[in-house]
Symmetry: C2
Subunit: 283 residues, 2 copies
């Protein structure tokens, strides 16, 4: 399903290449060991020019509040808190949290579905700072809750708004963010496999990877693939290219289709397959 040239490069860590996979992961581990507890690499890429050629005047938070009732993919509650100190008797308030990695507005890493590929503490600002484009499929998502971003939507976007920049975060706006307050509505069901919501098609992500080299894709739903997917084509096919996904984005209606700079800031916890993030846009 991937363009062959992409697949050849991206699948190098699959099970049929276990030695290379282990070696690469071992190398990463070595790097982590050498810098254990140390700062993430301080990268200084040139920022995407478009968003900074003029003074940025507007910013939007693309992050949902991470309420304890935040809808989880499988259905059961995914995030829990416990007060561990409080004003009486401790003099200050703090909590402990237990949460799955894939809850709230969060990142899916390449290694979430591709063994040996990059994990959340391998993503750097070169990945996480990127121009954002927003593909609006709200009209067809009203007709079909499992509607997908297809290559035709990308072509139509470019006809109207201009070429999708290289190294962009390409986001789907399906109108789903407004449903997040109710789990069954947001999921379109009780939880996997009872799910119905829009997502990307693998044809669309293959198109992007082959032609526009995105840093990642984002969705305003709970999964990169549509809810009725049984094969998770995008999770397997797109993440394996070394690119990341962002799920449950908010406020995509409030940013321009093209021209904003995005920042996706996941918690860089050790060897995480994903993590909650703070995502913003500025333009």
């Amino acid at each position: 399903m991937c363009a062959p040239a992409v697949a050849a490069g991206s699948r190098r860590h699959h099970a049929d290449d276990g030695i290379h996979s282990l070696s690469r992961r071992a190398f990463l581990k070595t790097g982590i060991t050498l810098t254990a507890g140390a700062a993430l690499a301080a990268t200084s890429p040139a920022l995407p020019a478009a968003a900074f050629t003029k003074k940025a005047r507007r910013t939007v938070d693309l992050t949902h509040r991470l309420v304890k009732a935040f809808p989880s993919f499988f259905g059961p509650q995914g995030v829990f808190d416990e007060v561990i100190t409080d004003f009486d008797p401790d003099g200050f308030f703090s909590k402990r949290w237990t949460l799955v990695e894939h809850i709230g507005t969060h990142v899916d890493t390449p290694g979430h579905f591709d063994q040996g590929n990059r994990l959340v503490d391998d993503l750097t600002l070169s990945d996480l700072l990127a121009p954002i484009v927003v593909i609006d499929i709200k009209a067809k998502a009203v007709e079909d809750p499992n509607a997908m971003v297809e290559p035709a939507d990308l072509v139509a976007f470019e006809r109207r708004h201009g070429r999708i920049p290289e190294r962009a975060l390409v986001c789907m706006n399906s109108g789903w963010a407004d449903k997040v307050g109710d789990g069954d509505t947001f999921r379109g069901g009780a939880g996997f496999p009872d799910l119905n919501f829009p997502g990307f098609s693998i044809d669309a992500t293959d198109w992007l990877v082959a032609r526009r080299d995105p840093v990642g894709i984002g969705v305003d739903t709970i999964s990169l693939d549509p809810g009725n997917s049984a094969t998770f084509d995008v999770h397997f096919g797109f993440l394996a290219t070394g690119r990341y996904g962002v799920e449950s984005l908010a406020n995509l209606d409030q940013i321009p289709p093209r021209g904003a700079l995005g920042f996706v800031g996941p918690v860089p916890w050790e060897d995480g397959s994903g993590a909650p993030c703070r995502a913003i846009a500025a333009w």
Copy 2:
């Protein structure tokens, strides 16, 4: 310790004002209920002008990798993971985390030490996007591990680098970030009350609040107050002004003393006293 005018405004939620405190918190709760699970307010403040008057060319990640061994204030391990799905047999990899709110590079909210004040899901981009200034006290921190940023350091900074902008994030660079790989070294001891590291003095934060209206302060150590503090003056006095702190920042050596725009992106979990964040600088 606070300038009186500040204290009068900031202490309105203290125990001696319980009704107002509860009312305000109840109001916040109402807001949260009405928008339960909904997006954080999409704010669009004008960005601080200084950082965007020219094209930003450099970015630095100010975040430490959140390793499981990350030093905790009290000593014991503060962050734990558990693999909940793996490639064999599940076909994909994911984990569950249990962690205290105050671990890794993270935010301290006003409500952490001031009952009824703002919590992590109350902070908006108006707070979190700000010019960063870096006060370098490395020389005196070599002499005294409990050295403090004092008003004289702020005055000296302004003489050399110009006025600290309004609504800035004012950070201490004590040279401590390099020690983060070893808990006892980073803490200067085994854990509270055996701690020795630099921090802000309350006189310095009072000076800032009265004269420069910062959005918050940041430190490259594990606490806003110095390690040998028994009274947590800055935690009580500064946070109560409605401003936040960022602890265990990384890479402050790699950004200019003045002129960068900072973004501090905590996970906006429900009613958190703090949260791990991704913090970056661009200029």
